[in-house]
Amino acid sequence: MRIFFRIFVFSIFFLGFFQATCFAAEEAISSISFQKGGGYGFLIQDVGGSYLVAVMDLDVSQEGNHSRGRARPLSLCQKDSSEQEEDEEEFDDIPEGEMEVDFIRDPFEPINRVFFHLNDKLYFWILKPVAAGYKKVTPDQFRICVRNFFSNLLMPIRAVNCLLQGKFIGFGSELLRLLVNSTVGMLGLMDPAQTALKLEKQDEDFGQTLGLYGLGPGVYINWPVFGPSSVRGTVGFVGDMYLDPAAWVSIDFGEWFVIRGYEMVNTTSLSLGEYEALKKAALDPYVALRDAYYQYRQNKIKN
């Protein structure tokens, strides 16, 4: 476990470092900054001669999850007034919030892209063939049972994060789920708590908890093997490892790696074709995946 601790400390150190550099870079591109009612904004000269006005809301009281690293609604201003009128006419009826330019910062895009290609190759050359072979020799129901079994073991992560997020009903239903599924559900192979008792799995993790507390995602990181994440996601992932029962029993890194590897193959065997579909629909698969990761996580934090 010492290695996890080291990764954890390392990530915290980087979290501070990344945020600081990003703000420095942000301040550098602002030609004019101004303060207004709890937030601040700056103007960026756009290519077309128009100005991009970015207003960052710092009013924490509003939703509780605004922070410096979060999405900024961008409004557009144009030097030419006639064009502006046309623009206003076109966009005035769009529901609030839907034209927000919402994205995750990605200052390490070149490195991330390298790892994206590496993961892409790992998927097509190793993971996919293995998962497809595994799928051929095992029935669907068996693989669903394996998925349920692993998911049942990770109950502490979900339960503790429910508590940390103040979701007491969620915590209760996770406790009941563990009780029911570990007994009636034959050590978690089945999920009668869901099918018979309608107790939904609470998909909460430490990354979401941190997000709810107001921590921004930091920057995007595409890890080799692990795939899309952010600074917040990585810290959350490492934090959750302490709640993983695998960390409580003394197993060495090799064993942990084999177990996680098998779980990964099993999960992949149940979702073959999804990554291919994303790739096929995308004009730039890297950006598509980055944005999908970000939107997915932001949505998870809200729920």
Binding site: M99, V101, D140, D191, A277, A281, A282, L283, D291, Q298
Partner: protein
């Protein structure tokens, strides 16, 4: 179910239908349901099975889908700040290409249909905008949350965005397209889009 209860339900439903006819509550939901049912009917139709009927199947699905999507609205939202810099011809060209890309994406998804069940979980209407919330239950027992965003045009509600588990299609394409346009140019971007659409 107990017999007497059944009558209570019948009575309840009759009342519900009587009340809902004049108000036509849930218009956006009805719109989505109509199209979804139509598409499921096409892809499960045994007379349209097999690879030799693929073209026919595709044509029917395409027809059903294009009735329900507002391509211009989607295009406008996707290009966002690049939209107003475009000439009329460029806009028409983009709407056409983007429409084809979306169509292909949608067709690929529909082709993989394997008995997923669709549940309508409610809707929100705000003026001429509406959101229809849907849960899709897959064969593996996972639930996927899908949201259709619609805008009223005349008497019809047309879809301008779909989000799956919180990932909005329009937002995703907007970020992709924006990153290409900003890095190179709109011309380069259109060239890429054209190549992508033609390859399919």
């Amino acid at each position: 179910m107990n017999r007497s209860y059944l009558w209570v339900w019948v009575f309840f439903f009759t009342c519900a239908i009587c009340v809902s006819i004049p108000a036509m509550a849930g218009e956006p939901t009805e719109m989505v349901r109509k199209t979804t049912d139509k598409i499921i009917a096409i892809v499960t139709d045994s007379s349209l099975e097999g690879p030799e009927k693929a073209a026919e199947r595709k044509r029917l699905v395409r027809e059903a889908v294009s009735e329900q999507f507002n391509r211009k609205e989607m295009s406008r939202r996707t290009l966002a700040r690049h939209w107003r810099k475009r000439t009329e011809e460029e806009k028409i060209e983009f709407i056409d290409l983007y429409g084809k890309l979306l169509e292909q994406t949608y067709l690929d998804r529909v082709e993989g249909y394997s008995g997923e069940k669709v549940f309508y979980e409610g809707e929100e209407v705000d003026g001429k905008y509406g959101v229809v919330k849907v849960k899709i239950l897959t064969g593996q027992g996972t639930k996927i949350a899908v949201e259709y965003r619609l805008k009223k045009a005349g008497d019809d509600w047309l879809v301008y965005d779909v989000s799956i588990e919180g990932v909005s299609l329009v937002n995703n394409y907007r970020n992709q397209f924006n990153s290409i346009i900003v890095r190179s140019s709109y011309k380069d971007f259109i060239k890429k889009l054209k190549a992508k659409v033609e390859k399919q």
